[in-house]
Symmetry: C2
């Protein structure tokens, strides 16, 4: 029996299941549901999962690959429960947006089995969440960061790389700390800035008229502010240090924009805006 | 002869020309080119314009509608040149993103002919610019703000409303000051914040790797940072007061996000993120 066990069947976990099914990568796909969490029965019925269960203890020993795709705050408790039951050749990975915290949790709770864990971060987020939003091609041509550590086995790294490639992803290997610094700047920071703009509008007296006249610029800028609040709270706390550093740097940008406008520094302002505009025009990933 | 004269044949001016042509709203569409500006000959050849000329003085008296769709910084000089030549029943409007400054310039330079000017702001911006980006359906179902003043003639207001409706727009009438406050918050602020994020990345040592791993969240957030630097410099200076007020309010948001993360205030952070997320989910204009 060749089994994949997915904790957290949401956008990411569900999309993994759909593609694994299509590619026939495992004989059995089992989703773990939370007490009072999303009812996974419809996703078994639809064929996304072969089975769904709350009794994950029964499933661990017989799983070949275990994926944690839950909010990061649940990582520790899951590792703790995995530890006594994990078979020797099972590989554990995750799909979290922050990696240092997950790696530390794996080290602490998987103990001598820490070498069976290798972190992953599929860069395939969306403001949509839940298994309803899952799609089999979510990972197609998307970057997947894999974060092995000093105790990782090279054959496990190869298996994890090959797994994500089978789902359509493009894999890169990176150190956890570097990962968290990079994604603080290019992902966590813009998310928080988008939440911030929407709340600035929320607190204005003329909020209704503002939202009425907000148009495509606002729409795209703030799309990511519709993201899961629970997930982003967890990311903020998990990557606290890098995020605070970036928020301070950003505050400096805002202050320097204020100063240029206030002083009417036409040339400085033009060259500031031009620099950003040129960089953004050159960056044209879609 | 029924003639429309367009100063500034870029995204907006070009799109006006295309739709006027399709709807056959005027007998002649004349575009004014700047010395050393975009060569408009190809757009006469393509049929967007009937004629293009640098000698706008020759055209003014015989025009029924004159539209200023140039960067706002050129507004004053154009009004000054229009003044002596403007026929009694010609209507002048513009398409600028800021309205107080344009209204003040009209008052100052059109003198007793100020009553022939009514401001317009089609909310149909794009990070793309230039006449190549023009399209005839740019204004379809888009909000068009019209800002008449105390001396405006009600029949002119009706004509301007009817003109924009013919182009597909949905018109609203608004006071210039209110217009500038609203668009500071929902448009000017997010544009500057997007420019700011790209420049924060520009100033990082690992800029190349950051841009390599930036994904869809960054893409949408920063799309508007590819906008015209010249245009946005002009907007910043034209709507200085409201924009600075909003940038200060935004700095407060950033500071409060820093404080919540720094203090590990899980509940506060969750309710802050949830508030923004709920507002953004409800706002679902496309």
């Amino acid at each position: 029996m060749n089994k994949i066990l997915i904790f957290g069947v949401g956008l990411i976990g569900g999309s993994i299941a759909l593609k694994v099914k299509q590619m026939n990568l495992f004989e059995e796909i089992v989703g773990i549901s939370r007490t009072n969490g999303t009812n996974l029965a419809p996703f078994v019925k639809s064929g996304m999962l072969d089975r769904a269960t709350e009794n994950f203890e029964m499933e661990i020993e017989s799983s070949n690959l275990i994926i944690l795709a839950t909010p990061v705050a649940q990582t520790e408790i899951i590792f703790e429960k995995l530890y006594p039951l994990l078979a020797e050749d099972t590989i554990v990975t995750d799909a979290g947006s922050t990696k240092t915290n997950v790696d530390l949790a794996a080290k602490k709770f998987l103990k001598e089995k820490y070498n069976q864990f290798i972190g992953s971060h599929p860069i395939a987020g969306s403001e949509k969440h839940g298994p309803e939003a899952a799609k089999k091609d979510l990972f197609k041509n998307k970057n997947i960061i894999i974060t092995p550590h000093s105790q990782s086995k090279s054959e496990d790294l190869k298996k994890i790389q090959s797994f994500w490639k089978s789902l359509g992803g493009v894999t890169s290997v990176m150190d956890v700390k570097l990962h968290d610094e990079i994604f603080s700047t290019v992902s966590h920071l813009p998310h928080l800035l988008a939440f911030g703009l929407v709340n600035l509008i929320n607190d204005k007296k003329n909020k209704a008229i503002l939202l009425e006249f907000a148009a495509s610029g606002f729409r795209d800028f703030s799309r990511i502010a519709a993201s899961s609040a629970e997930m982003w709270r967890d990311i903020c706390l998990a990557n606290k240090e890098s995020i605070i550093t970036d928020l301070h740097l950003y505050k400096n940008e805002v202050e320097s924009i204020i100063a240029m406008i206030d002083q009417g520094s036409e040339e400085k302002l033009l060259s500031y805006l031009l620099k950003a505009s040129q960089t953004r025009k050159k960056w044209n990933k879609e």
